[in-house]
Amino acid sequence: MKKGVSIFLLCILFFGSTGNIGYGKELVKTKNVIFPESTLANQTQTINIPNLLGIESISVDNGEVDYSVNGDSVEITVSNGTPIKVQTGGEYIPSDTKYIEGHTSPSYNQDGYVANNLEKYVYSGSYTTEQRKTQTESRTSSTNSFPNSITFNSGGFTGPLNKSGSSTVISGSPAASKFVSGIGNTSQGKQEIYKYNSSTKKWTYSHSVTIAPWITQTYNYNLDEFTGPLDAVYTSRSAITEFPVPANPVNGQTHIYKQYINYYKYEGNVSKPDTRVWKQIYSGTVVKPAVDTRVYRYRGNATKPAIDTRTYQTVYSYQVTFEYKDWSVDPNSIVLEGIPLDGVTQYFQIPNSALYQKDKNVTWGIWIKPKSLSDQTLVSNGDIELKIGNQKVYGILEINGEEVNLGFEASNLHLNKWNLLALSYDGNNAKLFFNNQLVAVKSITGSLQYDENLDIVIGKSPSSNASYFNGEISQFSIWDKALSNDEIALVSSGNFQNSGIGTWKFTSVTNRLSYDQSVNKNHAEGFYFSPLIVLSSQEVSDIGLTLKWSKHSQAISYELKRGKNILYEGNSDTYSDRPLVSDTDYRYTITPLSEKGEGVATSETFKTAPGSLELLQVPNNLTFAPMKLNGTTQKVSESFLNKVIIKDTRKERNGWKLQVIASPLISEDTFRLFPENTIKL
């Protein structure tokens, strides 16, 4: 841009009374935001206020409030509020008291009524006091052995009785013994046996034998309490009967020689036991204990405590009141698509064309959403320029060899909002529009000049890598006429008609190329943007692969190339590329497309899998029908039901052979074998 002195024939600046140039009035409004009851002390709400310009003030009914603004969104954060206790459920039932009696326990707990330490009282029965008396008792024993005391228990009286005096014999006598004789009678018959000795011719005593009557050897004495066993004692003998000896005895012959009876009496020691009975007197005091048949019960008041099942929680509630300023009229609600420029390297370039070099009746218009008011070039070809510099927005034209500047304070731009800037010249007046307002005009008759003859660059200086724009751009147009105020109003509503000699609409998917919507098709090329989508491969085999790419929300179709050849154009996100050569690298490029332009392409190289040589299929078993032999060479045939399929995808194409061999025809019992050359194919 040449430096020079502008010739001001007339300069009018239009500003509102507030100093803001917006689309209309900027109003201060009040808004209440209720934060409903929540258990969270810290709460955040985001509200959207269309066309928000800024927050003037903010307050909260309790606690603290903070906020942040992002475009039309206001994020409000409240904290440290006053806790509120609220009932969330349950009920309260007051306590109740009732009088109870006849209860068997000092504690009572029934039907919710509870009492402890109830009063004890006599429910039934009586009490008889203790009685005492002197009691004498005697005890007898067969021995003179008595305990020192005995226990008395009779008629309810009990107690120990002690010996009173010494024991006495009340009957019987002591033990005694004596010798008695001449008692009773018993007898024993006997025979004496003799034996004859022939040598001596004498009879000599051999032995004796007993005969009846038979003796009783013992006798039990029992007389006058004396008892004891007595033994038989010989007393006398009866007359002896002798028997005549036999005549002519032989040696050893026996002979009963004598027979008689022996008489006996009994004698021996007898004794009697001690039969004395002893008596002992006992005496002492016995006691009849007190008798208590009383039954006690309990009485008193039992209380049913209050029941409180109420539940509570602590909640926080806030009401935030804030004043804000917004734009109050339409075009400000315009929502445009755009593309961000990073302010560092990114820009668009439109090839220079004689079409744009009008000497008059020309308008440039551009929608921008700036992030800052620092110095930056919005659009320029070196002769016509819109830029921000020194805190001003400038529209610059080269007229009659001089640089004509029109401008307004950059602070009027709305950061992070869409702003329309338009610059026109009709041969007499140079005008600068901001949104739907004419903000600067200079009257100068002459012709526009294009000394620099540069490409049109959006987003940086056209002559150097400097003055990059940081923000979004949406649309840029060149009209071959000076737009009227009404036309500017139409444009400022977001309606960029394609009536100009060049119109470019930018979106995130036009970062490689923004199509010129006019008939001239002089597209704007983007620089230093990144690819938008990811390209990957799937199902990679030796004869092909499937390509898969991520979709872009603003793309309506995709162009897929292998090398320079277009394989596919459509809105799918996959493409199966086959047949391909095995073990080979293929370079693919995918480009997202829209009606407004196209995105930066993504290129990737994928390699097919190594190939192979193999038989994929051979015929199945087949069976010949049974045949009957006729004694001659016979021919039979059958058809294969399946095909042979061969695959050769090897990169090394050295050819192949399909070969076959059959084993000799052999019987199922393996004993019979046909010779070679029996099976023919």
Binding site: Q634, G655, K657
Partner: protein, 81 residues
């Protein structure tokens, strides 16, 4: 012999027909020379392609006159040149 998949290639050559295959050597049915036979091919046999020529001198039945089954194994292979 026809190609059913893969890059369009030059079809291999069928060597000849009607050969005995029960000898001592593999018999080549199809031959693909260099740069041919690339891809996937299927080979369709004509009707009654498999033929038996039975010499009655070797065709036995069971001693009781009942039929006797015979069988053979056919092995296929594809080998590179």
């Amino acid at each position: 012999m026809s190609q059913i998949s893969g890059l369009k290639g030059i079809a291999p050559t069928i060597v000849n027909s009607e050969q005995f295959i029960d000898g001592q050597q593999f018999i080549t049915l199809v031959s693909a020379s260099e740069e041919t036979g690339y891809g996937i091919y299927e080979m369709t046999f004509p009707s009654n392609a498999l033929q038996l020529e039975l010499n009655p001198a070797f065709a036995y039945v069971r001693q009781d006159g009942t039929p006797l089954k015979y069988q053979t194994d056919i092995n296929w292979r594809v080998i590179p040149n």
